[in-house]
């Protein structure tokens, strides 16, 4: 792990200018590969300054024929990408986008890609187009996940939500804990459990207490630490839903879909 040092900024300047000696370039690339936001920022800044330096070249226009030649040559290529030569030399080798996690990056990248697309009408260069498409895809995915989170957060924060802590029955195990929040308006519920790791060959099953009867809401599958969060829709009619219960059943759940066959280990009623 190479920690960011001031010396790296010297290297970033040389890198943007395309004038680093090989050993320095390798050193900086190794450092960048570990992810360094300060250096990435510096590179973008120095690269902007390099454009100013480039613009100091005496102004000159190529012959008008060049424009026609370039357009014709590209037309002849039909945008083909096969067999294209990679950039050589010791100037900035643009690096492939690294795998990055986190929403912040997705938003930033999307903003950057969209800005560029707008600025240069870059409909055609396939590389950018792909990047844009993939960024948009990630953005849509992130938005979906966010919407989903918001939806369930709304259940938890609903003003008229009904909440109950499920408490142990005499058949229960002391460590079991559960809390249920039910939003009557959307008929959705969020239930969180702790220590619901079922004994071998058994499953915990969740039930809605509906008036005089019960309805199965499915099995509770805990993660490795024994936690589980269930987000359930169509949990039951607000007029009749009284609370929830958990039973310990044979693996796969109660053989009787309409009622628990094993011991009820936890139960909780709203307002109880």
């Amino acid at each position: 792990m190479s920690e960011h040092r001031d010396e790296h900024l010297d290297l970033c300047a040389g890198y943007a200018l395309g004038s680093l000696d090989a050993a320095d370039r390798q050193r900086l690339e190794a450092h960048l590969a570990e992810g360094c936001p300060e250096c990435e920022r510096a590179l973008a800044d120095f690269s902007g300054a390099t454009v100013v330096l480039a613009a100091s070249a005496p102004q000159a226009q190529p012959s008008p024929a060049l424009r026609a030649r370039v357009l014709a040559a590209v037309h002849g290529e039909g945008g083909a990408r096969e067999g294209a030569a990679p950039v050589r030399g010791r100037v900035i080798e643009m690096r492939p986008r690294r795998q990055t996690v986190g929403f912040a990056w997705v938003w930033a990248a999307a903003a950057a890609a969209l800005t560029i697309a707008t600025a240069v009408s870059w409909n055609a260069a396939s590389r950018l187009r792909e990047e844009l498409a993939s960024t948009r895809g990630k953005l849509v995915q992130a938005q979906r996940e966010l919407d989903e989170e918001r939806r369930w957060a709304a259940v938890l924060n609903a003003p008229d939500a009904r909440v109950t802590e499920l408490s142990m029955t005499p058949a229960g195990v002391a460590a079991l804990r559960a809390r249920a929040t039910y939003d009557p308006r959307t008929r959705s519920a969020v239930l969180s459990f702790e220590n619901v790791t079922a004994p071998s060959g058994k499953d915990y099953q969740l039930w809605a207490l509906q008036g005089a009867g019960v309805a199965s809401l499915g099995l509770i599958k805990a993660d490795a630490s024994g936690r589980a969060v269930l987000r359930l829709e169509n949990v039951g009619d607000p007029q009749t839903l009284a609370g929830f219960a958990v039973s310990l059943e044979p693996a796969g759940g109660s053989p009787n879909p309409a009622a628990p066959t094993g011991p009820v280990v936890m139960a909780g009623k709203f307002g109880a």
Binding site: G18, D21, F46, A49, A57, V70, H75, A85, R88, A125
Partner: protein, 172 residues
């Protein structure tokens, strides 16, 4: 290729060639060679062969990188051919200003020149020979008879100063 794509390329060409071509010409000193290089660079970009990373810089910086690399490659091969033929020309004079440049271009070009004048002579020289002659920092140090560390400082200070004198937001 679709009509829309051609239009997009034409727009890109018109927008960035005024930036890219002078760099190729400054490096190669020959309009014919510079035009060849610019054409190759556009083809390479179009084929998507040169990766673009938006975090590392603008589209302009990217296009310049592609064109400069090709121009320096061409320059080195021409130079080695010349050396083989033992006909080393003295460095040709800088081409004169283009009289057909638009008012906006000329105004921008004035601002760039003023920004360059805001550097110390050493900073300016270190940047120019590295960029336009393609010398590595140790080669620049040998040429300027200065320690490598000093060249690195000049490079960083020079680019930092340029950025301050002409921030990207103010580019026309």
């Amino acid at each position: 290729m679709q009509a829309g794509d051609e239009k997009a390329l034409a727009e890109l060409y018109d927008r960035y060639t005024p930036l890219v071509y002078p760099v190729a010409l400054r490096i190669l000193r020959s309009p014919a060679d510079a035009e060849d290089v610019v054409q190759q660079a556009w083809l390479q970009v179009w084929k998507g062969a040169a990766g673009y990373d938006s975090r590392r810089g603008t589209v302009a910086a990217w296009l310049l990188t592609v064109a400069r690399t090709r121009a320096l490659d061409r320059y080195r091969s021409v130079a080695s051919r010349r050396r083989a033929e033992e006909k080393v020309d003295p460095e040709p004079a800088t081409p004169p200003e283009d009289p057909t440049a638009s008012a906006t271009q000329r105004q921008m070009s004035d601002r760039v020149r003023r920004a360059m004048q805001g550097l110390t002579p050493q900073q300016r020289q270190a940047l120019e020979i590295a960029y336009f002659e393609g010398l590595s920092q140790s080669e620049v140090a040998a040429r300027m008879q200065a320690p490598l560390g000093t060249v690195k400082s000049w490079t960083r200070q020079g680019l930092t100063r340029l950025r301050e004198l002409l921030p990207e937001e103010e580019w026309v």
